[in-house]
């Protein structure tokens, strides 16, 4: 019997997840509700089957996630009896930080990066799983699977520990931590194929439907609630759209699509000429911006 490419990726990820459970005192899985998180959660369930996942999940809620995402999150936690923490940066809320008037840079910094750091400090997690993949973005391509963070949660790309074979250095001092990326070697198409084969449930926003949207800066933005102020020259349209990637709602653009099933999404993807992160506004703030965010503690 020969293992297929997907079989190999699946076992590699399970190995990584088990290694963390064995070597760390207080790991957490960061659950972003997106498709990669859903795959990661599915793999964690397999890693410890028939037992329960032996660590907590945590969602960093920026308060600007789509309503459907929050519903899906709570249903998933209930369905699988997950130990899920939700953390919101209350100081950011008090200061009314939001993606519209504060701008994407400040919103992402305060409500995602700072919020994550707050939560990691609060619960004293020593390892945090993330669903990032190396094929997503250039600076991710060089990140280790076990990526060291200092006491202030900073990443030092110039000083990464060599990572050989499948031997992972899990030695850290007090208050230091690692971010662990079990999906490092998966590509976008691998993720979709796996979702299809394993029948993994996803947030409905990934599938096309008539939704209320506006056009802004050449992007299609969904009107999820009345916090998105419609400008005079903009008008709400009904369009058949879906999301290739999910983030905070005014920062994540929809794409026009007819794909309503995983199969149709894959077909669309194969024909598509645009990479998935293109739907996210935050990456293009400046050249090399993802690398800068990651050094500061962003996932």
């Amino acid at each position: 019997m020969k293992l297929s490419h997907i079989d190999k990726l699946e076992s590699e990820s399970i190995h990584i997840i088990r290694e963390v459970a064995s070597e760390f005192d207080n790991p957490v899985m960061l659950y972003s509700i997106g498709k990669d998180s859903s795959v990661m959660l599915h793999l964690a369930q397999k890693a410890f089957y028939p037992s329960k996942i032996p660590f907590k999940l945590m969602h960093i809620d920026t308060t600007w996630k789509f309503k459907e995402m929050i519903n899906f999150r709570d249903e998933t936690a209930k369905k699988y009896n997950l130990d899920l923490l939700v953390h919101i940066n209350q100081e950011g809320v008090r200061n009314n930080i939001n993606p519209i008037s504060s701008g994407s840079k400040i919103h992402t910094d305060v409500m995602k990066t700072q919020s994550l750091i707050q939560a990691l400090d609060k619960y004293k997690f020593d390892a945090a799983f993330g669903g990032a993949r190396r094929d997503e973005e250039k600076s991710r391509a060089k990140e280790r699977i076990f990526s060291f963070r200092d006491k202030k949660h900073r990443w030092d790309p110039k000083n990464q520990k060599p990572e050989l074979w499948n031997l992972f250095n899990t030695n850290i001092d007090k208050d230091e931590s690692v971010r662990v990326f079990p999906l490092s070697n998966w590509t976008e198409i691998d993720i979709w194929q796996y979702i299809y084969q394993e029948n993994i449930p996803l947030v409905p926003l990934y599938f096309s439907k008539i939704r209320s949207v506006i056009r802004r800066n050449d992007m299609i933005i969904m009107v999820d609630d009345d916090r998105l102020k419609i400008k005079e020259n903009e008008k709400i349209e009904q369009k058949k759209v879906r999301f290739r990637t999910l983030g905070c709602y005014p920062l994540t653009a929809a794409v026009e699509s007819d794909a309503t099933t995983v199969e149709e999404i894959i077909v669309e993807l194969l024909e598509s000429k645009y990479s998935e992160r293109q739907g996210r506004l935050i990456d293009n703030d400046q050249i090399g911006s993802m690398e800068k965010k990651k050094q500061e503690g962003y996932f």
């Binding site: 019997m1 020969k2 293992l3 297929s4 490419h5 997907i6 079989d7 190999k8 699946e10 076992s11 399970i14 190995h15 088990r18 290694e19 459970a21 064995s22 890693a47 410890f48 089957y49 028939p50 037992s51 329960k52 190396r134 094929d135 250039k138 600076s139 991710r140 391509a141 060089k142 790309p157 110039k158 990464q160 060599p162 990572e163 050989l164 074979w165 499948n166 031997l167 250095n169 030695n171 850290i172 001092d173 490092s184 070697n185 590509t187 198409i189 194929q193 084969q197 199969e263 894959i266 077909v267 194969l270 598509s272 000429k273 645009y274 990479s275 050249i287 090399g288 690398e291 800068k292």
Partner: protein, 624 residues
């Protein structure tokens, strides 16, 4: 497109991990950019971004610089070189590729080793205008050391030598000339131009004299065979699943062979025979599982198995249980490797303290010469003997990469400082057994009502260690306690007179004294050690040789300025004038203890008062 056919094709694709080696100028990033571009694995927005960046940082004039797709980190982009390991992904009709892109310079040997450790195939790029260089030899050697069986020598920039066949043949001949000894399973030579695209995906009429396949065709046809040993089942236990009371299973990734329900296997450490009842694979419960699968097994009986153990076939395996082995080590840290220093050794499913006892030789990685050396510097490769603090299960790397590899970790800063491949077992330790004597430490020391311990004094030269130690011994003698004082200067006249003052010799000096003080503690003595002992690592080693409550570290805290002012032996003066080399505090480092049991501040109190503090400590802790 029919989605089911698509998935079937996807599942039939094999996975191939490739490593590209070659220096900055050989066009490595351009080749990878070309592979991604020609296999249509680049999206248009990525291409547009690269176009923008090409204008800013590019080296190809108005043309798009494919190398910029690859050089991920911003700092590297600005310097125009690749300095880390980056992983890229592309696929063709037949294959899914994972490329490890590593830099070529000698100072990045460690990055190349990192990339090679997870690769099936090595592509060695040779610049046709330059021919075989030292780095070509170095890369070939490393691929061979890391057990890569398939290599492709891609002679690049053929367009710059007018596709000259003769020059290509000359390069092949000189490659075969030096690489003959390496015994690669498969070795191919292809003339290419990554910039233009010749022979990367498409064969090109420019090189009509070349009858072989294009690079991509050659890669797609490689079939991966493991060594024979891989047929024998082995599973290092990674995680014991007893998270719920009704279930007890053993999880891990199968590193060789296969397993079926009802198979009988060994628990390697205890040699206990067990039967496999259930196999849980990622695809659910199954009758069997194979190499590479992460599984959970349940067994027919309750046995004591934990992380670090190995389940394996009963017959025909050649794993060994030992605390010593010979291995090749690649050093990956700026701080040099020093024999006899303790490090953490991490293997596939456990880690332990150990040390490199001998550096047999280091290897000049450009000429393959064996050179005598006392230590390894960053990026150097040596043949070594390793001794661990406990017995562990191994297999030579050539038989099983997963069970024959390890990384070395600094126990203070947790950096990964080295990596190794096991060549063979050393039987030395298992042939010498430990005799159990009838009279033990407790009996010896009970005669005169003392508990043996080590009073380990550390501090700069001239800090007052020996003065205080001497007073303490007198006071203990008055109390009729049995003591012995080991003094740094005195021991160097006898036991350690062969040692100098380099870091390597200082480590050996302390190792011997640590062993001597262990014997003296075993003899029941209060042992007073007065050595500069400048390194944390060796003080920790001395501490670990005795019971945890038997080691009392005493830091004599005197500032370098004060020591230099006192200078009782005139040594600081000599060191300052350059007549004395490797002097602690001047041109050799002193690492201040982070949590000693006792700190003696000589500036505030007299030697007599400080000695009394130590005596008081011994009384408080019931040592005397």
């Amino acid at each position: 497109m029919d989605i089911e056919t698509f998935f079937q094709n996807q599942n039939n694709k094999k996975q191939l991990k490739i490593l590209t080696c070659g220096s900055v100028d050989d066009g490595k990033s351009t080749l990878i950019g070309r592979l991604l571009f020609d296999s249509k694995n680049i999206y248009s927005d990525q291409l547009n971004q690269t176009k923008i960046e090409s204008e800013k940082y590019g080296t190809q004039g108005k043309q798009i610089d494919l190398a910029l797709l690859i050089d991920g980190l911003q700092a590297e982009r600005e310097q125009g070189i690749t300095i880390d390991v980056a992983y890229r992904y592309f696929e063709t009709e037949k294959c899914k590729f994972i490329i490890a892109d590593t830099p070529g310079h000698e100072e990045y040997t460690r990055n190349m080793v990192t990339g090679a450790s997870n690769s099936d195939v090595g592509i060695i790029l040779v610049d046709a205008t330059k021919g075989i260089l030292d780095q070509t030899k170095r890369h070939t050697f490393i691929l061979s050391l890391l057990g890569i069986e398939n290599i492709i020598v891609a002679v690049n920039k053929m367009d710059l030598i007018n596709y000259d066949e003769k020059k290509f043949e000359d390069i092949i001949a000189s490659f075969k000339n030096f690489a003959g000894e390496f015994n690669f399973n498969l070795q191919k030579f292809i003339p290419i131009s990554a910039l233009v695209g010749d022979n990367v995906f498409q064969k090109n009429k420019n090189i009509s004299w070349y009858n072989g396949k294009s690079l991509i065709d050659e890669l797609e046809e490689i079939s991966l065979k493991g060594p024979l040993e891989e047929e024998i089942f082995s599973l290092p236990v990674q995680f014991v699943n007893r998270l719920s009371s009704e279930f007890r299973g053993f999880s891990g990734t199968i590193t060789s062979g296969k397993i079926k329900v009802n198979d009988e296997v060994h628990v390697f450490s205890s040699k206990e025979k067990i039967k496999i009842i259930k196999i849980l694979t990622p695809k659910g419960e199954s009758d069997f599982a194979v190499k590479g699968q992460a599984v959970t097994l349940t067994l027919d009986k309750e046995v004591d198995i934990s992380r670090g153990d190995l389940l394996c076939s009963i017959k025909n395996h050649n794993y060994f249980l030992s605390d010593q082995f010979a291995s090749h080590i690649i050093w990956m840290n700026k701080e040099q490797m020093i024999p006899e220093r303790n490090y953490i050794f991490k293997f596939i499913n456990f880690q332990t303290i150990g040390k490199i006892t001998d550096l047999v030789h280091k290897i000049n990685i450009n000429s393959f010469e064996k050179i005598a050396s006392k230590f390894l510097n960053l990026n150097e490769i040596g043949y070594t003997k390793v001794a661990l603090n406990k017995n562990t299960i191994f297999n030579p790397y050539k038989n099983n990469k997963r069970l024959g590899s390890f990384v070395i970790i600094d126990q203070f800063n947790n950096q990964t400082v080295g990596a190794g491949v096991i060549e063979h077992e050393l039987r030395r330790a298992s042939n010498i057994s430990w005799h159990q004597m009838s009279i033990n430490k407790n009996l010896r020391s009970s005669i005169n009502g003392q508990k043996p311990c080590v009073l380990w004094f550390t501090g700069l030269s001239g800090s007052g260690k020996s003065t205080i130690a001497n007073i303490i011994e007198q006071k203990l003698h008055k109390l009729e306690k049995h003591t012995y004082l080991l003094d740094g200067d005195n021991v160097r006249h006898g036991l350690n007179k062969d040692l100098g003052f380099t870091d390597v010799d200082r480590v050996e000096n302390i190792r011997r004294i640590s062993e001597v003080s262990r014997l003296m503690v075993d003899a029941g003595l209060i042992t007073i050690v007065s050595f500069i002992s400048p390194f944390k690592s060796e003080r920790k080693m001395a501490r670990e040789l005795v019971e945890s409550d038997e080691f009392i570290e005493i830091y004599v805290d005197t500032s370098i300025e004060e020591c230099e002012k006192r200078d009782p032996k005139g040594l600081y003066k000599k060191a300052r004038s350059g007549k004395l080399k490797n002097f602690t505090g001047i041109d050799s480092n002193y690492e201040i203890p982070s949590s000693p049991e006792i700190i003696l501040e000589t500036k505030i109190k007299s030697a007599e008062e400080l000695a009394d503090e130590v005596i008081l400590y011994l009384k408080q802790y019931n040592k005397i």
